[in-house]
């Protein structure tokens, strides 16, 4: 007889026994030893029919192809830029991916992106050894001037963005602050200082909040109340 030892959506820790029996199948973050399926990392157990997987709740960002991230120029090389990515791996932006303009060999690359500059960029390739290639060709990809950058738990990025961007749009609309959310856990904000503070507070609230249900309404109320205080 196969038996589930932990309920769906429970928090599980490494080594914890999740299920016994051959009817269940181990997927991401779990492993089988004989009859037992155990957790191979901390997270939320997701039971999908007979498949058991773990949704991580913590951990650093690891670059993935197709992700839109915020990077910071850490070095300028002969034919491109090196960027730090809030991950263990730096990314490389080659000249041909940097702008739609033609950049002549030997020209001063800091005219385009200088040391310390932030950009929104897209990952086009990650090799097995974690060499990361990025591009600036694509909608919304650009240099970010001024403003501030905050760091959030990367695992919370999807809920900060919300379904079809609904959560972040709500914050933008309420505060008038420009916001760019990178999948690497960096968020750039730029606007009026008071409003920026409110937007940051709202994001921190989403990050901390456990339950997704009713979150949109909670944040909406929070923003309405905060804005009332300001106009008072």
């Amino acid at each position: 007889m196969s038996e589930l030892k932990v309920s769906d959506k429970a928090i599980v820790v490494p080594g914890e026994l999740l299920a016994q029996g051959m009817d269940f199948l181990p997927s991401f973050g779990t492993y089988r030893i004989k009859e037992d399926i155990r957790a191979a990392r901390l997270g939320l157990l997701k039971v999908d029919g007979k498949v058991l997987k773990i949704i991580p709740l913590s951990g650093r960002y690891i670059p993935k192809r197709g992700d839109t991230i915020i990077g910071q120029v850490s070095d300028i090389m002969i034919a491109g830029w090196r960027l730090s990515t809030n991950s263990p791996y730096e990314a490389v932006l080659g000249m041909k991916d940097a702008t739609s303009e033609f950049i002549e060999r030997g020209s001063d690359l800091s005219k385009y992106y200088a040391l310390g500059d932030y950009i929104v960029t897209k990952i086009i390739n990650v090799t097995s050894q974690k060499l990361v290639d990025i591009t600036m060709r694509g909608p919304g990809l650009r240099k970010l001037l001024g403003g501030r950058v905050i760091e959030v738990n990367t695992n919370k990025v999807p809920r900060i963005i919300g379904k079809l961007g609904s959560m972040v749009s709500m914050i933008k609309d309420a505060t008038g602050v420009k916001i760019v959310v990178g999948q690497n856990g960096l968020i750039w904000l730029e606007g009026e200082a008071h409003m920026e503070n409110i937007a940051v507070e709202a994001i921190r609230k989403i990050e901390k909040e456990g339950h997704l249900s009713g979150l949109t309404d909670k944040i909406k109320d929070f923003l309405t109340n905060k804005l009332k205080e300001v106009t008072k």
């Binding site: 310390g116 001024g146 501030r148 950058v149 200082a193 940051v200």
Partner: protein
């Protein structure tokens, strides 16, 4: 916002907000985060304390031992202060011998206690010219969320308040047996560091503010408002007027901080 995430346009953005009296974390310029002092956090120390300022956390411990006095001060015990910016506290701290940042921190704390004559060193004398007590304070950072300087100074002071002598029978020192005898602590020197960013003066900086500041001045004062130590830091310069404002602010804030200590 992590301090490494800064560039010039962002520092400008932060300064612009300060010009309007707004800090990134919503505090007023002269407002501290909540301060918490906890005594006796290490039983192996003769005295110890934990200080939290917001999420910044520092531990300090006092160890006492017996040694020969300095030849020029045969009737005085002495003081040693060490500080370690432990790599546990920040991704920016590295393991290894103390760097100049931790040395400055230890020396600023040391000077405050020494120059205020906070410890009556005559009372540390066991036998003139032969045996005196040495008071050593060690500061260990646990979490760096800005303002380690003031947190460390407060923690060192609290650890001194907490300290009692170990048992000593004239020949042997028994660290496992503590007496009830407190250290001869006569004053409470408190350090407040005032930061200047653009034209703005602020206290209790966050890591981003620490990365952006032009000049800072650490003002150490005792009860009654006397100054006992100063330390200017940073690449910028100060006018006399600014120094006056910073000292005033330091005095005012140290009175608030002193209330966090036990009497």
């Amino acid at each position: 916002m992590s301090a490494s995430l800064l560039n010039d346009t962002m520092q400008q953005h932060l300064t612009n907000a300060l010009n309007k009296g707004i800090r990134f974390d919503g505090r007023k310029l002269d407002e501290w985060r909540p301060v918490k002092v906890e005594y006796g956090i290490s039983k192996t120390a003769e005295g110890s304390a934990r200080v939290k300022i917001g999420e910044t956390e520092v531990l300090a411990g006092v160890k006492l031992f017996i040694s020969e006095p300095y030849p020029d001060m045969p009737e005085d015990g002495s003081l040693m202060v060490g500080a370690e910016l432990l790599p546990m506290a920040s991704p920016e701290f590295e393991a290894g011998p103390p760097d100049v940042q931790s040395i400055e921190l230890a020396r600023v704390v040391d000077r405050g206690i020494r120059e205020a004559k906070a410890i009556d060193t005559k009372k540390l004398c066991i036998k003139a010219g032969e045996k005196v007590w040495i008071v050593s304070i060690d500061i260990c950072t646990v979490n760096d969320d800005g303002n380690l300087l003031d947190a460390s100074s407060l923690a060192a002071l609290a650890a001194l308040q907490d300290a009692v002598f170990p048992h000593y029978d004239g020949t042997e020192l028994d660290y496992r047996q503590k007496t009830k005898q407190k250290l001869p602590l006569t004053k409470l020197p408190i350090a407040v560091t005032v930061y200047k960013i653009g034209k703005n003066l602020l206290v209790d900086p966050s890591p981003v503010e620490e990365r952006t500041f032009d000049v800072r001045l650490t003002v150490t004062t005792t009860q009654g408002g006397m100054l006992c130590a100063l330390q200017k830091g940073g690449d910028g310069q100060l006018t006399l007027d600014e120094i006056k404002q910073m000292v005033e602010l330091g005095l005012q804030k140290s009175a608030e901080l002193r209330k966090c200590l036990k009497a």
